[in-house]
């Protein structure tokens, strides 16, 4: 799956877009979060981070499909 990164998470992974092929067997939002925290220790130090699926905030149990637009949303700070 292709994953977009923004803000501090873009800096942590070092790119704004990453192809992740290690997650198989109908992965969920939670699987992706755990994968990122295992692979990049800096993710565990964040206040929080959310996952958006097709431009909507997604709960942990939401399944991730190959054609979904998936994005990592670190704590927002607009305004």
């Amino acid at each position: 799956m292709n994953v977009l990164f923004f803000g501090i998470t873009r800096e942590i992974v070092g790119t704004s877009e990453l192809l992740i092929s290690d997650l198989v067997n109908k992965p969920t939002v939670n699987d992706l979060k755990e994968y990122l925290m295992t692979r990049y220790s800096e993710f565990s130090k964040l206040t929080s981070f959310a996952v958006a699926v097709n431009n909507e905030y997604a709960k942990d149990n939401v399944p991730l499909g190959q054609n979904d637009e998936i994005a990592i949303i670190p704590p927002v700070s607009g305004g």
Binding site: N55, A71, P75, S77, G78, G79
Partner: protein
């Protein structure tokens, strides 16, 4: 007819906000403008750098505008946010609403900015002389 303007721009134009919000059915307009403050916790800020997930940000801003229109029966709404580097005193966000009477647009205006800050995927980095900090990233 309702007037709504939702946008993400490089530079906020504060000069046309009255035209964007004025409405025949409104007796009042309320506007909030967020700007770059020189000091954060006694440290001098050189600039703020904003980035966004634009397609999702616009979608969330639309939802916030729709919620506010329904809740306070607004006649017009503006939500605009800037991206890129912004220097001290520059505007970075402008929200506003108009309604038949003033209490509704005052309340709606606060809701627009408070909810934008909670939900809209926009990120701000504070640029100090010797460091850069992503706001709210760490506890």
């Amino acid at each position: 007819m309702k007037k709504t303007k939702i946008e993400i721009v490089n530079t906020i134009d504060t000069s046309n906000i009255f035209a964007q919000l004025s409405h025949a059915h409104s007796g009042g307009i309320c506007v909030f403008i967020g700007t770059v403050r020189e000091f954060t916790a006694n440290e001098e800020v050189i600039a703020l750098e904003f980035e966004t997930y634009k397609v999702m940000a616009l979608k969330e801003m639309e939802k916030i505008a729709d919620e506010a229109v329904k809740k306070w029966n607004l006649n017009s709404v503006v939500i605009a946010h800037a991206v890129g580097a912004k220097k001290v005193e520059e505007p970075v966000v402008i929200v506003g609403a108009s309604s038949a009477h003033r209490p509704e647009c005052f309340e709606a205006c606060r809701y627009l900015i408070d909810t934008l800050k909670e939900r809209v995927p926009i990120w701000k980095k504070e640029m100090f002389k010797n460091k850069e900090v992503w706001v709210s990233a760490h506890p």
